[in-house]
């Protein structure tokens, strides 16, 4: 037990760090090394631990089998729009809940918070029916619209905006600023960290969504990255293609990995903020 406590022996610490790292990284390693194998080597028994004749063949195949470029484009359109939408609606609603007074505000806010507890599968059947009747299956609108009203975002923004001194708002109003100006010119510039946090989390969440896109998208042209990955799984019929599937997985996770490596400090700070101060 004392191994893990303060001031543990250095060497033990390095061993534990090594163990954690190996376990965390190994699936990534296996994914990349498999994707570099030839279809002959991928079927070797026992399996090889690394690609003895690394080849990019699987990568060129995967782009023929699945329209990955298109899927990445779709994912960026859908995720980007939804994230932007969430930011805008959350800032607006968060501002009202933090700084305005009106009857029923607390009740309404509690009601909004309560919807955070509603998992997405609960609304799946009726939402699907609606979008189908509106002829919006295989449409960006179906992927984007239902996610834009976001209780967590509203909550986060309210917490942040509540911390902004009232005097700042009053001063702007006395200078003749409209409510529009107050929100977008005075408040929003102060929300940098909150926007970064919410934006990142919304982005990752939207990018990784599966159940809803799976339900409202049928045409391969409208596949998001996650659906492209899923279809790759159903298109391959033998171990021989494991290298192709793995190459697809590498391509599919690359945007998330790059985003994370680039902005990791905001991610970690964001987790801390949502988990502890929230």
């Amino acid at each position: 037990m004392s191994l893990i406590l303060r001031g543990s022996k250095r060497s033990w610490a390095y061993i534990w760090l090594g163990v954690i790292t190996v376990i965390s990284v190994f699936p990534f390693y296996w994914m990349v090394s498999s994707s570099l194998k030839t279809s002959k080597e991928i079927m070797a028994l026992p399996p090889h631990w690394w690609a003895t004749h690394p080849s990019l063949q699987a990568y060129s195949t995967v782009f023929h089998v699945v329209a990955f470029a298109r899927a990445i484009g779709n994912s960026f359109v859908v995720t980007g729009t939804a994230t932007l939408g969430i930011l805008v609606t959350s800032i607006m609603a968060g501002y009202v809940f933090a700084k305005y007074r009106f009857r029923g505000k607390e009740t309404l806010f509690t009601a909004v918070l309560a919807t955070m507890m509603v998992p997405s599968f609960v609304t799946l059947v009726p939402l699907y029916y609606f979008f189908n009747r509106l002829n919006l299956i295989d449409n960006y609108a179906a992927l984007i619209l239902p996610n834009i009203g976001n209780a967590f975002g509203i909550f986060l923004m309210r917490q942040f905006i509540a911390g902004i001194p009232q005097e700042l708002i009053e001063a702007a109003r006395i200078d003749g600023a409209s409510e529009w100006t107050v929100l977008w010119r005075v408040i929003t510039p102060l929300l940098g960290p909150a926007i970064a946090t919410l934006g990142l989390f919304a982005f990752v969440f939207q990018w990784n969504r599966f159940l809803w896109p799976l339900t409202v998208v049928n045409t391969p042209n409208m596949y998001t990255v996650v659906l492209a990955l899923n279809s790759l799984e159903s298109y391959t019929s033998s171990v021989k293609f494991a290298n192709v599937v793995m190459a697809g997985a590498v391509v599919g996770i690359l945007p998330s990995v790059l985003l994370f490596v680039w902005l990791q400090k905001y991610f970690i700070r964001g987790v801390a903020m949502t988990g502890i101060k929230g």
Partner: protein, 449 residues
């Protein structure tokens, strides 16, 4: 006093909800005919990319001689096909033609999703296909489309493993099956099966139920009676389920750990056969191309034989099923007319080469049996290979998988019954009683017993 803003908010919400409900209840808008007089139709299928490309070539040929028609093709994985059909048929821009599994036909026809073939097309269909194939396109006396592929099941065995175990020919009876499976099975030091004599498939409903039913039918049994009631507690169903239980528990020649199928209906069960860890297994003809690509030159070790006949059986009666090209009943009249004309052409020798239709060529390229009589003749050479010939032979005495309402759920319910025995969760008789009850309840919803 009610705050104005609050009132505004409330009315906004009410309006939004109202719109949603109205939108939900309103009728789906009709498709708009194109102004130029050109008819656009589309075909939804599950074919992999190479077959889609071949179909596109046929389309290009057709469009040249029919400048007023433009045709597109779209493919989705098998697992998404049924939900895509049912849901897309509700929208105005849904596909004009669907490639469907015959099991789905009753529900799709009853719900008015697919349209019956107009008289001249129905006559075309009944005169160019064998009668048992034509019957798979029927619902309440009407034909609903052009049959395309047909698949059946047979016993696949590994000749190299059989030779090594000193067995000269595949089993044709149950005692032989048990004896051969025992000779083929190998264990490691801890008693685990490392090579199984007889393989089963799990985790994929048809993969579980079809081979089991092929055994039941070859023991003189049936799945349903004429009144659409299940016969899971019949003698044959119990005998086959007991046999499964014995192979797994008593003789230990079948390893459920080697039986899993994945979402694309391949996976470990196929890998185990392909890598020589399974002596024999009952599987459909369409896995030929997957086996070939996994096994390479070892594919020549694969032998195919009829389903072994049970003690009460009169002969080998395997299971077959087919796929049908149908037309969307929600499409406009002009689209439906264009669709039927195209389907007649693409299934006729005029569209293909050497007597085969374009459809026949597409199916054969995937290693699948076409169903049109002239296509079967045109592809005789391919149907005569050592792998395919036994499948074609078996088709002559095969029974169709019962095509009923709720067919997919029925298959899943029976899968649950069989798997609960295979995994030792219940005894054969308890499982079959439970299954009988579940399936009866399901079918009585549609056939009101």
């Amino acid at each position: 006093m009610v705050n104005k803003a609050q009132r505004a908010t409330v009315s906004l919400l009410a309006a939004a909800m109202g719109t949603a409900v109205l939108a939900g209840c309103g009728a789906a808008p009709n498709s708009t005919p194109s102004a130029s007089g050109k008819v656009s139709i589309s075909y939804l299928t599950l074919w992999p990319a190479p077959q889609v490309a071949m179909f596109q070539q046929a389309i290009n040929k057709y469009e040249k001689s029919h400048p007023n028609v433009s045709i597109t093709v779209r493919s989705v994985p098998f697992g998404n096909l049924l939900s895509t059909i049912t849901t897309d048929s509700l929208s105005s821009n849904g596909p004009t033609m669907f490639d469907i599994y015959d099991l789905w036909l009753p529900s799709l026809a009853k719900d008015g999703i697919v349209a019956p073939a107009p008289g001249s097309y129905a006559a075309d269909i009944s005169s160019h296909y064998a009668s048992n194939i034509v019957s798979s396109t029927d619902y309440s006396g009407k034909s609903y489309g052009y049959p395309n592929e047909v698949d059946d099941y047979a016993l696949n065995y590994n000749k190299a493993l059989f030779r090594a175990a000193g067995i000269s020919s595949p089993p044709s009876t149950w005692p032989q099956l048990i004896a051969d499976a025992r000779a083929l099975t190998k264990y490691n030091a801890s008693g685990q099966i490392v090579q199984q004599g007889f393989g089963v498939i799990t985790s994929w409903n048809s993969g579980v139920v079809h081979p089991w039913l092929a055994m039941v039918q070859s023991d003189g049994g049936q799945l349903l009676n004429k009144q659409h009631q299940p016969l899971l507690t019949s003698h044959a169903a119990e005998a086959v389920t007991n046999l499964y239980s014995q192979l797994i528990n008593q003789y230990k020649v079948t390893s459920t750990a080697m039986s899993i199928a994945n979402a694309s209906t391949t996976g470990p069960y196929l890998d185990n056969f392909a890598t020589g860890k399974t002596g024999m297994i009952i599987m459909a003809d369409w896995w030929e191309s997957a086996l070939e690509s996994s096994m390479g030159s070892n594919f020549s070790n694969v032998g195919v034989a009829p389903i072994p006949v049970g003690p009460n059986g009169t002969g080998s009666h395997t299971v077959y099923y087919s796929w049908v090209s149908t037309v969307n009943a929600h499409a406009s009249t002009a689209q439906q007319q264009a669709a039927w004309a195209f389907l007649r052409w693409v299934n006729s020798p005029a569209s293909g080469s050497n007597g085969s239709s374009a459809m026949g060529n597409i199916l054969s390229s995937e290693g699948i049996m076409p169903s049109r009589t002239s296509d079967i003749a045109a592809h005789q050479a391919q149907l005569n290979t050592p792998f395919m010939k036994p499948y074609v032979q078996a088709l002559k005495t095969a029974y169709p998988f019962p095509v009923v309402f709720g067919g997919d759920q029925l298959t899943t319910d029976i899968q649950n019954t069989i798997e609960s025995v295979e995994y030792g969760q219940s005894s054969p008789s308890a499982a079959l009683n439970q299954g009988q009850q579940t399936v009866s309840q399901l079918l009585s919803q549609y056939y009101g017993h």
